[in-house]
Symmetry: C2
Subunit: 279 residues, 2 copies
Amino acid sequence: MAGRMRVGVVATAARLEPETVRRVTALAAAHFPEIELFVHPNSHLAAGHFAGDDAARAAAFMEIANDSGFDALWFGRGGYGSGRIAATVLPQLTEAARRKTYLGYSDAGVLLAALYARGFPGVVHGPMPADINRTGGEAAVLRGLAYLARHDAAALEPSLRAGAKHAAFNLMTFSQLIGTPYQPDLSGHVLMLEEVSEYMYRIDRSLFHVTSNPAVRAVAGIRLGRCSAVPANDPDFGQTEEQVVRHWCGLAGIPYLGRADIGHDADNKVVPFGAAPIA
Amino acid sequence: MAGRMRVGVVATAARLEPETVRRVTALAAAHFPEIELFVHPNSHLAAGHFAGDDAARAAAFMEIANDSGFDALWFGRGGYGSGRIAATVLPQLTEAARRKTYLGYSDAGVLLAALYARGFPGVVHGPMPADINRTGGEAAVLRGLAYLARHDAAALEPSLRAGAKHAAFNLMTFSQLIGTPYQPDLSGHVLMLEEVSEYMYRIDRSLFHVTSNPAVRAVAGIRLGRCSAVPANDPDFGQTEEQVVRHWCGLAGIPYLGRADIGHDADNKVVPFGAAPIA
């Protein structure tokens, strides 16, 4: 088909199950025939925690990123591992890499941050192929595909505003970038943060960390995404996630702007970094 | 008794049980009659996760720190909460506070870091009263008391060297200070890091974070304390804690100096920050 869009799926952290790939490929073919999905074979490797060792994952990332035949690199899955290849891949990215869209979230936020810090224009926080395994996850995958295929406005996080700049991260992932060369300049940005499977005291601690960073204090404001699967605190923490984020924003002088429609779930909406492409 | 040393115990995070206080007080009286132990009543308050709300804990900290009648402030227990009072107490500390010894570890590392960053000379990583509840914990408490009473050389971490500078932290606590005003300048220091109850992938991630910080790269080297109670990774992480720290030190150009005799256990040795007071 002429003008097909080529999307390369790379697993930079945990591996993708063959069944996940089969389902996502079938879903994409049925709904977005204009997309040609290529799943890099690294996605099925296994090396301990990871989809192949650091060298294999770095090579896979670069093979897609630096190939001008691909329009987008789609992170396959979160977990942990993107930071392990950052120092290797970043210096080797070419102009072809710069012209590409990068879509993912969670652990992939390490590379999203690093690419945005280097001025890459197509950095996007949103659903990944592995989301198909969530309850209702097909909707998440279709949302990611709709953004990739045609920048579908229905896929976008609803608080995005034309003229404003945005960024979105998993809170702990972002926290582990603070004070490193991978931390992007988010001054003037609306910063959206979501969390999953962290105790409330850890959400509080990460917000202490993030909002104590002088550069983060230059954001236009913070929106809180969903904080899901929070384990029970013993004793009860005594404050809700919204009380916690209001506390730290208040202390830091950062405007708290309300909730964001992002999270580790099937409803996770798309947040392009930088100035929103809103009609 | 003339010349008694006055030590004030403050719970800046989780509360102390009355039985803990009773046992530590009796132990101190039996072995170190030269120490007068004062347990601030805030230690028994409860406000959700904390030993009293932020205002109560901050007031308790300042009452001991700014009272020239106390020679030392002994953090009662870890958990989480010291960072919540840092912004309040730091600007209010007086010269009396500067002349004091501060002993603790784990979550208390937030305030140890902040005090050391402000040039306080008596910042010390070591056992706390709540350690009496560990198996063999009396030895830990006695070690802390021996350091407070007479800077007992037997209490010190054995790799400390005269003329060298040292600092010690819980890894995650230290990670959550990177890029904040609480991060001390540790250039030229031997940095000791220990961890407890964190998955190996999180130990890896925190070491990625810490060793990616340009200021941390100026340390003289890193020693790894004990990493205890590491939950099972699924799949197996595939690397040991020592492989992980060697990886990140190697990538960062930081000398890895071997193990440190610190950890969340009864064997936790004392590490005075800065130049070691070795005879």
